[in-house]
Symmetry: C2
Subunit: 349 residues, 2 copies
């Protein structure tokens, strides 16, 4: 399937030195993809000049005059940076010139501009941030990871619908199981919102497993794990911190003395292979899900390999019809739960 | 300092085969401690018969006729098991015959009985569950880990007071830093409760660092990390699941072929030392904090070594005056924040 992706060429901690080579590799690996690189004309053209001609022919340049700063308040970016690389990349999705946008820029600005320009899907109150995490069986799709700090039960239901559709699109799993993140498996556990969400999910027609706990994310008990953005953000960042600490401890132990250094040398391949299974670059790319368009946020510090993963993720979401799948699942759930009013109008917040 | 600890000898997945040898080792290591073992007389006396006589002389037996089941609803345990080993162990703290109680039994029942029998400390709305987790600098005290799924800003302030006093008592750190778990460091981040709690903490006189994120728990950014019980429980269980997954991945890689098995053999000491730094047994023992007595909950599946750690934790809390330290810090914070009404009356819920 022919897919055009708009890339915010200037976004992230590194900008062009990462986005250009990543796009080049992505295009080489994906014959049906095309890219619109959005950014400051002179440096962008200079960076693209080094590319192979057949790849270069699949890249269009859209020149812009501004860049959204990594720490810029989202409302400022939304109001005053109408010719920024981020804004124009999203505009291209709105106009249909591209089917997806990928940016390593400021998450808050990307979400604010995405909501304003693209609006929210019918049936969805607010977009969420979803990503995949490794588990012992494969990957879990977890959402929300921080866009919504206070969620209603209906919103958690919407996250479940979107997470389920996303998992089908990018993992090819037609009927993913959905778990509701709670502090115990029993129905009596948790706060009122979670209990109410469990009731909705039970009658939603989705493949609802029931409550899951934090450890189930990495066990892979369910394909999708649903939670509010506060809890999801803490779970994600706690995991990042724990992995960093474990690496530090492992390094400490392997560099303690000459014996342990020798053991490290002999274990080189094993440790490399171990680290690669957890490599966050392989999971780079969070989907801003619930917008009327595919928007993938790369980690700001992403390197070439990580940014390429984010491009592939956006491609799969388009190629496997994520937006249509969300719409279909919203229809199906509405039919099962006629009493739950899913929002009808376009929203810009 | 002479300290008597009441031990629920029957609690946990294993009961006597774990509690008796753990008590024996604890007493051997702690000359000033005494223990009251609470449980079914015949099997308890039989298990104690094997002990060294000088240690046996420091153990009193309190015979009871019932056991609280690991899955028993807390209200049933509270209402109908007045002669259970758990209940009587807590009664001994109430009567002053013991200064602390340690149980590996049902957490919900222990909390319900603890609140009913001991009541809540002046200035504290509800008790919390606190534990220590390893970080790259030492340990973090984290609370609440699941006792309170909905917390007010005042409750988060109370958790900060209690966590600070607990850290002083068991880590010997007189002015521990306190972080408020949030989804960003900026003051604008998070929900209303967290923002309000940050305002209270800023003026509390506690050593408040500000907002911290999930990764700060393992970085060791602050000595104490405060959060509501839903978030804390998810962070803790997510960590448990992640460590299990990492161990599995490490094992997979080290057993992949004869080369990697050889590397594992050569790395034996390194890997053993690595695992021991994370050994959850070394961190066993969650404090049910905010009660008018020291109550430590051991993990239900604790082995002898883990249960001994929980006993040492209870001992340190008593020996270093945790309850008095909480009371002093409540007074000090009340003086700083006269407008915040900390609860005055005894509460049983």
């Amino acid at each position: 399937m022919r897919v055009t992706i708009a890339v915010d060429a200037m976004g992230g901690d590194h900008g062009l030195p990462v986005t250009v080579p990543a796009v080049s590799k992505f295009l080489a690996a994906t014959p049906e993809a095309q890219v619109v690189m959005v950014g400051l004309a002179a440096p962008l053209e200079a960076a693209l000049a080094a590319l192979d001609k057949t790849l270069r022919a699949r890249i269009t340049v859209r020149a812009t005059s501004e860049i959204v700063g990594m720490d810029e308040p989202p409302t400022d970016a939304l109001r005053h940076k109408k010719d920024s690389s981020m804004r124009v990349a999203i505009d291209l999705v709105k106009s249909g010139e591209a089917q997806a946008c990928v940016s390593a820029g400021n998450t808050g600005a990307l979400m604010a501009i995405g909501k304003f320009v693209l609006k929210t899907l019918r049936g969805i109150d607010r977009p969420a941030i979803a990503t995949q995490l490794p588990n012992t069986r494969g990957v879990s799709t977890v959402l929300d990871l921080g866009a919504n700090v206070n969620c209603s039960a209906e919103q958690l239901l919407q996250f479940a619908i979107m997470g389920s559709a996303l998992t089908t699109a990018i993992e090819g799993n037609d009927n993913p199981t959905v778990g509701l993140l709670n502090i115990g498996e029993e129905e009596t556990k948790g706060n009122e919102v979670v209990k109410e969400a469990a009731e909705l999910l039970k009658h939603s027609g989705l493949n609802f497993y029931g409550n899951v706990e934090g450890n189930d994310i990495y066990k892979g008990t369910t394909d999708v794990v649903v939670c509010d953005g506060f809890v999801g953000n803490v779970a994600l960042k706690t995991s990042e911190g724990l992995v960093q600490m474990l690496y530090k401890f492992l390094k400490d132990e392997y560099t303690r003395n000459w014996r342990s250094r020798l053991a490290a040398l002999i274990s080189y391949r094993v440790l490399k292979s171990f680290k690669s299974r957890l490599d966050p670059r392989r999971f780079n790319g969070a989907t801003l899900i619930g917008l009327r368009g595919v928007v993938v946020k790369s980690h700001g510090s992403a390197d070439e390999m990580a940014f390429e993963y984010a491009l592939h993720k956006a491609y799969r979401e388009v190629a496997h019809g994520m937006l249509d799948r969300i719409a279909q699942r919203i229809e199906a759930v509405s039919a099962q739960l006629p009493s739950v009013a899913l929002p009808d109008a376009e929203r810009a917040d």
